[in-house]
Structures are given as structure tokens and as C-alpha cells.
């Protein structure tokens, strides 16, 4: 699950990580009040940041032409004007796709006087199943580029899950980043806080980019997480009610939300051939084989081990809500699942939804003969595939006209 920057900063703050003072605002009035507070506190500059689950906000453009999803402001009036321009508007960035995202919240925060930008992240290192801290002096840029061009500039420190993050590790990373004196101590404490956030919140990834050395109003240097991105482990949400409440349905595809209600694992894609499959690996392979034969999958859909008649019907309805769908490929390997149960479910779903699009069904496994018979005798136009390749070729042919 993804959360917004302002929510990520809330979590980090709970674990003692320094973030710029600011408030999430859903209305222009809230934005004005927040901006007033920031300037009243002695800050010279504020920043208004659109809250969406996508990066590239600074360079993004709103659909009405307003430029920039992250804007500085020298006064409360200017900040309020930015907020007004952003709230309710649709922001298009390199990562949102051409449809963009509606901005319903802006973060109005103090804009720090930034002297240096670093990169910091905590994630799982899958190579050894250990938590990993990645830090770099190359902050504020695309870390994947740094990894490719100057990998030596990325510091990696593994954490022993039983011991947790240790103080000497914080000092080690701070030194590796070239930090000295009081600032190094502050940084070490911040690294510990970021790791603690990752561990306690059951995060899959915590990314601070940029992590900054800033000069405060008092002229002293400090280390602050100026931007934050957190992804949470879906498997652990059951034990984080507060984080569950951070879910923003507006950032999720409506069809995906609908599918999750039926325990269907559905991801919308761009193509024209819809898939309905049992098993994630087989579902991915089904998308792949459609592409192999020259067409494009409309979705990933894993009905799992169940696939009751209700789920199959729900799946068909969801698939058919996608206007780009021109054909459907049902690919089932009935292991424990009875192929005739699936076939009966398909026939019922087709009748209930009044399906007229081409439907290719490939059944294999348990009770397959009965399943194929049910399809053949249904009176419906259902194309049968013998093997996965045969079925894929048939369904691709139906959209090739």
C-alpha cells in the first residue's frame, strides 16, 4: 500500500525523524491558516506541495495549464494562491500517465534553506533477506541513475534484524557521507529513526529524497527529511489499523478496488484482451503469451484457488467494465479446482452479463472432460483451446481483424 508524503512524514515524526513543519490542507482556508502559521513562526519561505502517489510533481503541469505541483511562496498570500490553483485540479507528471491525478490535498510547509541534499532509503535486500540502508551524497536526483553511473557513491549498510539498528552504524553512515561534528550526531539519530519507522510500521520501503542539511532561522545547521515516500507491506496491514486508515481510494483504479471486494487480484493494463486465470504465476504467463502472439493484455487477474460461481461472475463484470476489452481469455489449470465447476461458473457469468465479445476458454486438469462438455453444450459461442499456446493464438486472432 502507498501513502502520501504528508502521511509518510507523520509516521517518521512519530519515530523522532526531523521533518519540516507543515500541515496537510484540503481546503484553501486550511492552506491559508497553515501558511499564516509558517510565516508567523519566522520562516521566510513556504512551499506548497501537491499530494499524489506519484513522483515528478515539481515538473508536472496541471490540466488547466498551471505549471508545477511543488511551488515556493514568499508570503501567506502567495502560498494560498498556489493552494487554490492546485486543489481540485488534475496534475500530470512523468509518473502519473496522461490522465494525471486529482489533487485533493496539499502540504503547506516551511521551505528549508537547503545547503546539501542526500539520499536515504531503507528496504529489504532480497539477496540476503536482511534490512538494508542505502545512503548517498547524490540526493535530489534519480537514485537509479546514480546506481548505474556512479555506484560507488551509494553506501550500503545491512541491519541485523535481531539486534536492530545500532548506534555505531549510524556514526558509520554519517562518516561515510562526509558529515562531521554535531551534524554527524544528528544524522546518526535520524538514521536510527528512519530504520525504526521502517521496522515498526512494517514498511516495504522508506525513501527520503532529498535528506537535507538546512540552515535554521537560528543560523544553525540541521538535518531534515525534506521529502518522504513510504510503501507498506500489504501482508502486515492487518496489524496497523492507523495505517489502514491512510489508504486513499482516489489513488486506486476503481476496477481494482471493486475486484478487491471479491478477493480477486486484479490489475488494469492497457491492452484489449482480458484474462481470467487461477494462480499468479500462470496469470502473468497468460499476459506474456498474449503479447508473444502479437496482442496486448487488458489486465492481470488471478481468481486464486477458489473461483466460485459468484467470483467468476464478479470477475466477468469487472473485465467488461473496461471499455478497451475486445476479447476474453479464460485460462484455468484445475488442480484441486474442478474444471466443470469453473465451466458452469463461466456459462452462468456469460448468461448473466449478456457477453457478446469473443471468449476463448482453455481448461486443463481435474475433471476437464466434463468441463469441456458443459461449455460445448451451453449453447453459447465459446472457443475452446487445446493448449495454452493454441488458446492464446485463437484469442489473439479474434482481435486482429
Amino acid at each position: 500500500m502507498n501513502i502520501h508524503e504528508y502521511q509518510a512524514k507523520q509516521l517518521l515524526k512519530q519515530y523522532g525523524v526531523a521533518v519540516p513543519p507543515g500541515d496537510a490542507c484540503k481546503t484553501v482556508d486550511e492552506a491559508k491558516a497553515a501558511a499564516d502559521r509558517i510565516f508567523a513562526a519566522g520562516n521566510k519561505l513556504a512551499v506548497v506541495k501537491s499530494q499524489i502517489h506519484a513522483g515528478g510533481r515539481g515538473k508536472g503541469i496541471f490540466k488547466d495549464g498551471f505549471k508545477g505541483g511543488v511551488k515556493l511562496a514568499k508570503s501567506a498570500e502567495e502560498a494560498t494562491a498556489h493552494a487554490k490553483a492546485m486543489l481540485g485540479n488534475t496534475l500530470v507528471t512523468k509518473q502519473t500517465g496522461p490522465d494525471g491525478r486529482v489533487v485533493s490535498t496539499v502540504l503547506v510547509a516551511a521551505a528549508e534553506d537547503i545547503k546539501k541534499e542526500f539520499y536515504l532509503a531503507v528496504l529489504l535486500d532480497r539477496a540476503n533477506s536482511r534490512p538494508l540502508i542505502m545512503a548517498s551524497t547524490e540526493g535530489g536526483v534519480d537514485i537509479e541513475e546514480v546506481a548505474e553511473k556512479t555506484p560507488e557513491k551509494i553506501i550500503k549498510e545491512h541491519i541485523d534484524p535481531a539486534m536492530g539498528f545500532q548506534a555505531w552504524q549510524g556514526r558509520k553512515i554519517a562518516a561515510a557521507l562526509g558529515l562531521k561534528g554535531e551534524l554527524a550526531g544528528q544524522a546518526a539519530k535520524l538514521f536510527a529513526g528512519v530504520y525504526k519507522t521502517w521496522w515498526e510500521a512494517d514498511a516495504s520501503m522508506v525513501e527520503i529524497n532529498p535528506l537535507c542539511i538546512c540552515v535554521g532561522a537560528d543560523g544553525k545547521e540541521k538535518i531534515v527529511a525534506v521529502d518522504a515516500k513510504i510503501g507498506l507491506d500489504d501482508n502486515a496491514l492487518y496489524r496497523h489499523k492507523d495505517i489502514q486508515e491512510m489508504r486513499d481510494l482516489a489513488e486506486e483504479s476503481p476496477l481494482e478496488i471493486e475486484a478487491s471486494k471479491f478477493n480477486l487480484n486484479y490489475i488494469k493494463l492497457d491492452g484489449s484482451i482480458a484474462c481470467l486465470v487461477n494462480g499468479a504465476g500462470l496469470a502473468m504467463a497468460t499476459m506474456d503469451i498474449i503479447q508473444h502472439y502479437g496482442a496486448s493484455p487488458a489486465n492481470f487477474l488471478d481468481v486464486g484457488g477458489g473461483a466460485s460461481k459468484d467470483q467468476v461472475t464478479a470477475a466477468f463484470k469487472i473485465i467488461l467494465s473496461d471499455p478497451s476489452v475486445k476479447a476474453i481469455f479464460v485460462n484455468i489449470f484445475g488442480g484441486i479446482m474442478d474444471c466443470n465447476v469453473i465451466a458452469t461458473g463461466i456459462v452462468a457469468a456469460v448468461k448473466e452479463t449478456g457477453l457478446t465479445l469473443p471468449l476463448v476458454v482453455r481448461l486443463e486438469g481435474n475433471n476437464v472432460a466434463a468441463g469441456k462438455k458443459t461449455l460445448a453444450e451451453s449453447g453459447l459461442t465459446i472457443i475452446s483451446g487445446d493448449s495454452m499456446a493454441d488458446a492464446a493464438q485463437k484469442v489473439v486472432k479474434t482481435v486482429a481483424k
Binding site: 528496504l123 529489504l124 532480497r126 539477496a127 533477506s129 536482511r130 534490512p131 537514485i143 537509479e144 546506481a147 541485523d160 534484524p161 535481531a162 521496522w199 512494517d202 516495504s204 520501503m205 507491506d233 500489504d234 501482508n235 502486515a236 492487518y238 496489524r239 487480484n265 490489475i267 493494463l269 486465470v277 487461477n278 494462480g279 499468479a280 504465476g281 500462470l282 496469470a283 502473468m284 504467463a285 499476459m287 506474456d288 503469451i289 498474449i290 503479447q291 508473444h292 493484455p297 492481470f300 488471478d302 484457488g305 489449470f333 484445475g334 488442480g335 484441486i336 486443463e364 486438469g365 481435474n366 493448449s387 495454452m388 499456446a389 493454441d390 492464446a392
Partner: protein, 299 residues
Amino acid sequence: MAILVTPQTKLLVQGITGEFGARHAKLSLDYGTQLVAGVTPGKGGQFFEHGGHKVPIFDTVADAVKQTGATASAVFVPPPFAADAILEGADAGLDLVVAITEGIPVRDMIRAKQAMAGSKTRLIGPNCPGIVTPGEGKDSHGGCRIGIAPGYIHKKGNIGVVSRSGTLTYEAVWQLTSRGVGQSTCVGIGGDPVNGTSHLDVIKLFMADPETKGIIMIGEIGGSAEEEAADWIAKHGTKPVAGFIAGATAPPGRRMGHAGAIVSGGKGTAEAKISAFKAAGIGVAATPSDMADTLLKLM
């Protein structure tokens, strides 16, 4: 003869009284698996009865092991309690724990895997379909079936199958069996980002197993386990290997069903894995329909 389990392996099922555990305990018994015990805390003293079998249930794994001599466990315990069940199995000194459960928090598995380092207990999974060593009877009856795979698709033979996926594994197995080619052992290592046993771990066992003559390896996007295995095979492999990688069409950054099936930060792409396979001389099936034929061509 085969790897990890034989038809004589004594199995216990943790979570045998749950709906999911019970259903598959019955199927394993029907297959001829030596299922000798169940473990459900609080239900010790009861029995699990099916088809003439009367399987004793115990409160603890240690008790079950002591009373029945079981050496392997299938964990069918819900996600909040599954890592704990795995560790209980390890503490009881089992040879093998096969964790079927999908949805275990990654943090729990990070801890459990670390706790088991150096232990004599091998963990397979979690989020896996389990292991099958086929038997010699009709539809491979008489073998050892741990987990949820359909028994009848298997056939006793010489091909080792290792995979992160469930139904995609069944495809490969069925292709082999339909061509009259049997399997030594089929191992599902699961779809989670932290697992107990990797592709490479299993491939090393297959390479050392006199009964296994060829290997099918099924992978998917996410992580670098397939590349690690391919690298080793290039240097030390002694038997033909063919493979398939699922997820070439998956969009980056999305979790494709399996918790571990995600391309993160540009890493873990199908493209990279397929390149690694080719560089190692591993036969790459262009589609999942070609997995068996791709291997058979190399043999």
C-alpha cells in the same frame, strides 16, 4: 532417490483442523502420503479421520515428533501465526518445514529466517504449493505429497522441477507427464520475497541426486534468485536445465499477485532473468506451453 522427501517420509500437518489444512490433509492421505500426525494447539488428543485413516492430533510439534517420529511438517496456519508455527517446527528438530501460508508479513519472515540460520531444519516457502515426490502407483499414487498440488498430474521419473509459482508448475508437470516423462521431485519454493529455500538451493540438490537427469526451473519477476542460479549453473551445472520466466509484460512497481513478484527500482525484470538463463546455456521456453519440450530437446 528424489530430493527432500521420499514416499516413506513421515509428515505432520500444522493447522490440520482448519478448513484449508483439513482439505489438503485428506488429499495427501488419498495420495498415499505417510501423514502420521496433526498439530493444533488445544486439540491434542483428538483424531483426524478420513478414508479409514485415524491421524492423532497433538498440542505441540515436539509432542507429535516424539510420539510418531514425523520428520517433516506442512504449515497450514493463518498468516498472523504462521511464522511462529514455522519456528516451533524448527525447534522440534524437524528435517523439513513446508510453509504453505500466503500473506505472512515480511518482517516476520525476516526474523524467522534469521532465527533458523544454522538450524538442521530446512524451510521451504512460505506462500508455496509444497513438494511432491511421485509414487509408482496409478496416477503416481503412493508418493509423498506435502501441500496443495494435484497429485494425479505427476508421474514417477527423472525430471526435477523447481518453481516460484503453483499453477504454472502444474502446467510444466502435466506437460512432462503427458509426454510420458516423469518427475523425481517437484518443489514449489513460493512467491514471497523472503523464503527459506531458493532456486539455487534446490538445483544443487537436483544436480547431486542420481535419480534426476534434467531440470525445469520456473521463475518470475522480482529479486535475483534466477540470476544467482543461472550463474552457478554456468560454472557447475552437470545436467540439462530449461526454464520459463513469467512476467515479461508486468508493469514496473506493481505487485503481481505474489508478494515477491515486483520489479523495483528497475531491478528484477524478466528480461534480465532471461538473459541470465541464455548466458548460462539454460534452455528458455518462449511460452509456458513449451516448457517440457524445451528441456526434452536438450536431453
